[in-house]
């Protein structure tokens, strides 16, 4: 039985790569996509990206719901385009999708989907945690309705990517992240501790382009702007953050993890959005987060290649 997943995302170059991996993998069944601001502040654009990615993969069945345009408390800073380009897909125009978002906001869509199949749906979050935070405010029982939550976000021991210690998804809405980490569910966290260990360079991406299918060409095209941003920032290759969250479901044996209580800094001057691991049990709280700390980079990239090859 495939694991039934609902993807909350701000697509986004690496989100698009992760959604393709999910759609190409028999281990998971995508029940729907909820969209949140993040890599762009224009959620309608991001929802259109989600619909277009589904069509590209030939999978138009999954509903797409539009969600939050702003963090719970703060203003959106709008810095996503530096890495993802103006349309969040590295400037690559996909054909206008026939599929339209559903007429239900993301928070309610998440609750409806989980309530319809209690204990069966896994939430996979690839963006700021605002939609999940809103859903938790509407339905505090949500943790009992879902199977588990797998997140791309945070950095417990690794350096941050928006300040010295914070990762962008958590930093984009620290209050929502704080709600999510303290909601009473177990979390698998694919943060920068593990995502920065996957290195995709142009040589590897060219092998995906040369698969000869439109998904492979799309992956090549959208990563042009994205990998250039990494080069500008001083990296030799690019990380594929969001695909780690999916791969952790598809192939958990590729990963190592540590179980620890994690909380979110919301008031620090230098540390806003930091995910703090309580390694020495100083908060007296039970661990709730499986922090992914290691990954088999070679096996990861081999399977990613094989899965993209199965798409149209």
């Amino acid at each position: 039985m495939p694991e039934r997943i609902l993807i909350d995302t701000d697509p986004g170059v690496d989100d698009a790569m992760a959604i393709l991996l999910a759609l190409a993998s028999p281990e998971v069944q995508v029940e729907g996509i909820s969209v949140v601001f993040g890599n762009s502040g224009d959620v309608d654009l991001l929802a259109r990206n989600a619909c277009a990615i589904l069509e590209l993969a030939g999978r138009t069945g999954a509903p797409v719901a539009v969600g939050a345009t702003n963090p719970l408390v703060r203003a959106y800073h709008g810095r996503g385009s530096m890495v993802h380009g103006d349309n969040a897909l590295g400037g690559v125009d996909l054909p206008a999708p026939a599929q339209q978002p559903i007429d239900r906001d993301a928070a309610h869509f998440i609750i409806d989907t989980c309530a319809a199949s209690p204990g069966e749906i896994t939430l996979v979050t690839l963006g700021p945690l605002t939609n999940i935070g809103l859903a938790l405010r509407l339905c505090p029982d949500l943790p009992r309705l879902v199977r588990r939550l797998v997140m791309m976000g945070g950095a417990v021991s690794a350096p941050g990517n928006v300040n010295p210690v914070a990762e962008a998804n958590v930093h984009n809405d620290p209050e929502a992240a704080r709600l999510v980490f303290n909601a009473g569910w177990e979390i698998s966290m694919a943060g920068l501790d593990v995502t920065m260990q996957i290195h995709m360079d142009d040589e590897y991406l060219a092998t995906i382009r040369d698969l000869g299918n439109r998904a492979g060409q799309f992956v090549w095209d959208i990563t042009r702007f994205y990998i250039d941003a990494y080069h500008r920032f001083g990296y030799e290759d690019m990380a594929v953050h969001d695909s780690c969250a999916l791969m952790a479901i598809i192939r958990p044996e590729f990963f190592t993890s540590q179980f620890v209580y994690v909380d979110v800094e919301t008031t620090g001057t230098l540390t806003q959005g930091q995910t703090i691991g309580d390694w020495r049990r100083q908060y007296g709280r039970d661990p709730q987060t499986h922090v992914l700390t290691g990954v088999d980079d070679v096996a990861f990239k081999r399977l990613y290649y094989e899965r993209i090859a199965t798409l149209p």
Binding site: P159, P164, F233, G234, E265, G268, G277, R280, Y283
Partner: protein
């Protein structure tokens, strides 16, 4: 021609030849240092090592509230220097409380007395009549060359020095600061190490002072440990300080329920003496002063991308990421045996 074997190497003739050759290499002049401490079990280990190290010229020792209240710190410091047969080293008392926040000690780690040895007879000596900050200023003013400050405590005294004697700051060659953490979390809170968390504002003053700093944090602090055999050899060495040293090490073994006690601050002194013992990288380090979870955290900017950002492009500390822990432990044993 005889075999070139260990037996030859151990022959009295060759041994005297080697020692004659060694005597031709001029000894390094001792490094002038000033030690700021909150003695403290592991501060005591650090003081013993420093006081018995020919590689160091200890110009003075200042005391600050930290592991235990100031009076106990002063008394412990004098007691340890007595045991080390170095009563001539000037000792001064500094601040009794942090710059801004209320004082919170660490007697749960070091015992109410600070050495874990409440029955150990304390020194009858008194400290210098000057405040620690002024003693440091006088010493720097008189020093012929830059002085290395080994800071093993909350940075309250050094912040006071920066605030009151800023013109003398260039006389400090380097501050080796045991404090903070890069990726190991904290020991006072989940994010803050004790020496920084005890007085975050003072740490911020020091890190913003422009003085060259080596950050010796929990990442390396916890790695320097002694074997059980080394503990035994130190305890039985028959030196004037051996009974005190044995008592301190046994307290650590009991307190942390581990046969191989960590040297703590002692490792920072060893790493100051041994060139190349630390692997350091230059980074911008700032102190988080607010934060629900992170107040008192050393925020080390390790981002590759931050090379371009102007603030991060001005590193203010050499941050220790790795240590030759065995080499440091061996130096400790060889010096105090």
């Amino acid at each position: 021609m005889g075999d070139w074997t260990l037996a030859n190497l151990q022959s009295p003739y060759l041994q005297s030849l080697f020692s004659n050759l060694q005597s031709l290499i001029p000894p390094m002049p001792p490094l002038p240092v000033f030690i700021d401490c909150d003695t403290g079990v592991d501060d005591a280990l650090a003081l013993l090592l420093a006081a018995r190290s020919p590689e160091l010229d200890i110009l003075g020792v200042s005391c600050v509230a930290g592991n235990v209240p100031l009076d106990a710190v002063v008394s412990n410091t004098l007691t340890v220097l007595d045991a080390a047969q170095r009563p001539e080293i000037p000792v001064a008392a500094g601040y009794a409380a942090p710059l801004v926040q209320a004082f919170e000690n660490a007697s749960h780690v070091h015992g109410e007395d600070g050495l874990g040895l409440p029955d150990w007879p304390r020194s009858s000596r008194r400290p210098d009549s000057h405040h620690a900050v002024d003693m440091l200023a006088d010493i720097l003013d008189a020093a012929a060359e830059p002085v290395t400050v080994i800071a093993l405590a909350p940075l309250t005294n050094l912040a006071g020095f920066v605030q009151r004697h800023h013109a003398l700051l260039p006389r400090i060659g380097r501050i080796v600061s045991m404090g903070g953490s890069v990726f190991s979390g904290g020991n006072m809170t989940a994010a803050a190490e004790f020496n920084i968390g005890c007085d975050p504002e003072a740490a911020a003053v020091v890190y913003n002072s422009g003085a060259p700093i080596t950050l010796y944090g929990l990442d390396v602090f916890r790695q320097v440990t002694l074997t059980e055999e080394e503990v035994t050899s130190l305890e039985r060495a028959g030196q004037p300080w051996s009974p005190l040293l044995g008592g301190l090490l046994h307290y650590l073994q009991r307190r942390f329920d581990q046969a191989e006690p960590g040297l703590g601050d002692g490792g920072a002194v060893a790493a100051t003496i041994l060139p190349g013992a630390l692997e350091t990288h230059a980074h911008r380090v700032d102190i988080e002063l607010t934060g629900t979870h992170t107040r008192g955290m050393t925020v080390v900017d390790r981002r590759v991308a931050s090379k371009d950002a102007s603030h991060a492009a001005t590193p203010n500390a050499d941050v220790a990421f790795a240590i030759d822990a065995r080499r440091c432990a061996r130096l400790f044993v060889e010096t105090l045996r």
